[in-house]
């Protein structure tokens, strides 16, 4: 047992925070239009690639930094600096990248993961469809072999990075077998809808896809051994990202609220001296620290105790994402009108917080799964 990150990792985290803060100030992604968001993402990826951040879990880096637990610690740091850059980076690197890494052929890994790790390629994963629920509804997106090509038909919703991606891994089936279709952004038959305007993550480009007779070469197909495994894997990686995002949101909001409470005076004393404020901050810190340790433990389990990892990650996801909304909401209350201003870190974090409960395995579905597991039904 050991509850400390190594000194090497701590130094790496510090470098990531420095880069993340620089990038947040430079890119202003939360205020960006589509073009600026796309170009900002590429600038961000280039800077993060130089720190080895984009190699973790996709292209081997040194042992200390390559574990899931180290990744959770690193993602948490990045998420607390620039939420939109973080989310876009992770859906590209850690969701798309890990899918190719886990199930792709050697040639596919070389083709896609090297540029991904160098920060010159943006990836996306298209999973959800009309029903949005991949637990209860089979995927309708299908591929068929036609001569030396494979043609795909389907519609996907709310695909993170779709307007900016160079390649999109589209989940579906190929003649009854589960598959990920690696669709280049410029592929004929692929239509990306206008960017969706979202409540939070204003700098993330999210859109829907339509695939109509979209023709691909056979080497653009990743055959996945089984559909449940594919869906579980994609959701698992997505959930890890969303847990880290929640930790970062809490950190942003908590820091802003604490600093304000220590410096803003009312009735002749800092407002933290009032129990209504001090106690609220104590509750916020408690939620943040508790979520943090649960997230670390779930990340540790991903490698050390795989049987527990899925359910522990669901526990962490439910707890952290719900805590994030609560902590960010309390921060806004403490910050009063200051926090309500557009672009304030607490405001940005608050708007982003809801996404974590909806995306990945929604908190409702996650609770059903945990309940089933408690009864031995899963």
């Amino acid at each position: 047992m050991n509850f400390d990150f190594s000194e090497t990792l701590k130094q790496w985290f510090a470098a990531l925070v420095e880069a993340g803060k620089d990038l947040a100030g430079l890119l202003e992604l939360e205020e960006a239009d589509e073009k600026a968001a796309a170009s900002g993402l590429r600038q961000g990826l280039a800077r993060l690639a130089a720190l080895g951040y984009l190699r973790v879990q996709t292209r081997q880096t040194d042992g200390d930094k390559n574990g899931v637990l180290a990744l959770m610690g690193a993602m948490e740091q990045m998420a607390g600096c620039c939420p939109s850059l973080f989310l876009a980076t992770e859906y590209s690197t850690r969701v798309f990248g890990r899918a190719v890494s886990a199930w792709g052929s050697a040639a596919q890994r070389t083709r896609w993961l090297d540029p991904l790790a160098e920060g010159v390629l943006v990836g996306a994963v298209a999973l959800s469809e009309g029903a949005m629920n991949v637990e209860n509804e089979p995927l309708a997106t299908r591929g068929q072999r036609r001569g030396d090509k494979i043609t795909i038909e389907g519609r996907k919703q709310s695909v993170v990075n779709a307007p900016a991606a160079d390649v999109i891994a589209v989940a579906g089936s190929l003649e009854g077998e589960p598959a990920l279709f690696l669709v280049p952004r410029a592929a004929a038959g692929l239509t990306v809808s206008p960017r969706r305007v979202t409540m939070g993550y204003a700098g993330v480009l999210i859109a829907d896809l339509t695939l109509e007779a979209c023709a691909l070469a056979p080497d653009a197909v990743i055959a996945v051994p089984d559909m449940a495994r594919m869906l579980d894997g994609l959701r698992f990686w997505e959930n890890q990202v969303l847990v880290a995002a929640a930790l970062g949101q809490m950190r942003m909001a908590l820091d802003a609220a604490r600093d304000h409470a220590k410096t803003h005076r009312s009735g002749g004393r800092p407002i933290i001296a009032y129990q209504e404020v001090g106690f609220k901050l104590a509750e916020m810190l408690t939620l943040h620290q508790t979520a943090q340790w649960l997230a670390y433990r779930a990340a540790w389990a991903a490698e050390a105790a795989p049987k527990e990892a899925q359910s522990l990650t669901l526990c962490a996801k439910i707890f952290a994402t719900e805590a994030a909304e609560r902590v960010c909401g309390s921060a806004l209350q403490i910050l009063s009108s200051t926090g309500y201003l557009k672009g304030h870190p607490a405001e940005v974090a608050y708007r982003a917080a809801k996404y974590g409960q909806i995306a990945g395995t929604s908190t409702e579905i996650a609770r059903v799964r945990l309940g089933d597991e408690a009864m031995g039904w899963r």
């Binding site: 047992m1 509850f3 129990q275 001090g278 106690f279 104590a282 408690t286 939620l287 433990r297 609770r367």
Partner: protein
């Protein structure tokens, strides 16, 4: 970072689980309904080695590390041992015996620890008073030196094991002009003239632990019964906080695991509208929330235990976070567990009712949630 336990630690936890299920759990309901302390179970815990688990073998203990001690406590809760007995165990082993070990002279250690480790004697700690609960420095119990004796006067309140204890670690002011720095610690044996315990309090939960006042009326004790040095009592009392936030919370972690199993069993067996209620999403959500709470609490407690094993000074902020989270958040899930059981959850037929009552102490005992919030906000 590594959250794993050693094979030996996990094996020991299983041994404690088996022991508790066989030797203690069959007696729990009977004792809870009678609000009776289970002396026999307590002695068996001593024979098994639990009561002095973390103390050196020289004094009758087992020499276990803190993480192992936490796992043993967790196993007690997981087996279904009630919060009353585990509270009595905590007050005995950590608040009393550990203080005697840390600050006692060799003579004091030799006299008390072997008896406490076997359970032949029961220990308690007297710190709170009727008008000095969270505000310890306001205590009015005094110990006045007269030659080779101290004369104690005052009343202690909410003392776990008070009515049944053979030996008490008692905190009193030796310098009433001072606040915390005026507090000293003493060891007082049952039967000492002028020392008595009040009648057991009738409590909502943790009924098998006996709680009372400790009353000192011109109680003369030898000066040799001073623990450590004069004026350092508050520091000694605060050192028990490490135990309070780790080993004392551990059985509670286990009881949440136990509660989840009980609720899941019930949800699978109870049929309404033609199917087990476990098929309804609302029930699954309640089960999920119990699991999430247990998992979230676990790492907080393990971390404090691990830090103590590393010899690190207690991080008061993190300790308060653990206490606040477990205290406040436990209420909703134990309440849900009762609701999930419907009418029978409100009866003694199912022990979720007892666990709910026992848990209600969590945000009160060992420092209320409000005190934890004060500490955290000051340290932020």
């Amino acid at each position: 970072m590594d959250f794993g336990f050693t094979k030996e630690q996990l094996m020991f936890k299983q041994e404690v689980l088996r022991f508790a299920k066989k030797e203690i759990v069959p007696r729990v309901q009977e004792h809870d309904l009678a609000s009776a302390f289970d002396f026999a179970a307590f002695r068996k815990m001593g024979e098994f080695g639990l009561l002095g688990l973390h103390l050196p073998e020289t004094y009758g203990g087992q020499g276990a590390d803190v993480v192992t001690t936490v796992l043993a406590g967790e196993a007690l809760g997981e087996a279904g041992v009630d919060g009353g007995l585990t509270l009595a165990y905590g007050a005995h082993s950590f608040l009393c015996a550990d203080t005697l070990f840390r600050h006692g002279t060799e003579d004091q250690r030799r006299r008390y620890l072997p008896r406490l480790c076997t359970g032949e004697w029961i220990g308690c700690m007297g710190l709170s008073e009727p008008d000095a609960g969270s505000d310890v420095a306001a205590m009015s119990t005094e110990a006045v030196r007269h030659g080779d004796r101290y004369i104690l006067n005052g009343t202690k309140m909410w003392i776990t094991n008070g009515p049944i204890a053979d030996v008490a670690v008692v905190y009193a002011k030796t310098d009433p002009g001072q606040k915390h720095a005026g507090i000293s610690a003493f060891v007082v044996e049952k039967g000492t003239p002028g020392f008595s315990a009040g009648p057991p309090l009738i409590k909502m939960g943790v009924r098998t632990s006996k709680t009372s006042e400790l009353i000192f009326k011109d109680c003369a004790i030898p000066a040799a019964n001073l623990l450590g040095r004069e004026g350092e009592g508050f520091l000694y009392a605060m050192q028990t906080v490490e135990w309070d936030r780790s080993a004392l919370l551990a059985p509670f972690l286990g009881s949440i695991t136990y509660l989840l199993k009980r609720c899941a069993e019930y949800a699978k067996g109870r049929v309404q509208f033609g199917r087990p209620i476990g098929h309804f999403q609302a029930i699954k959500h309640k089960l999920a929330d119990i699991r999430i709470f247990g998992e979230a609490a676990r790492a907080l407690v393990y971390r404090i235990a691990w830090c103590k094993d590393q010899g690190r000074p207690l991080n008061h902020l993190e300790a308060s976070v653990a206490k606040l989270f477990i205290g406040d958040w436990s209420l909703a899930v134990t309440n849900d567990a009762v609701t999930l059981h419907g009418g029978v959850g409100f009866t003694h037929e199912f022990d979720v009712e007892r666990i709910f009552r026992d848990t209600r102490l969590a945000p009160i005992g060992g420092g209320t949630s409000e005190i934890q919030k004060m500490i955290i906000s000051k340290l932020m």
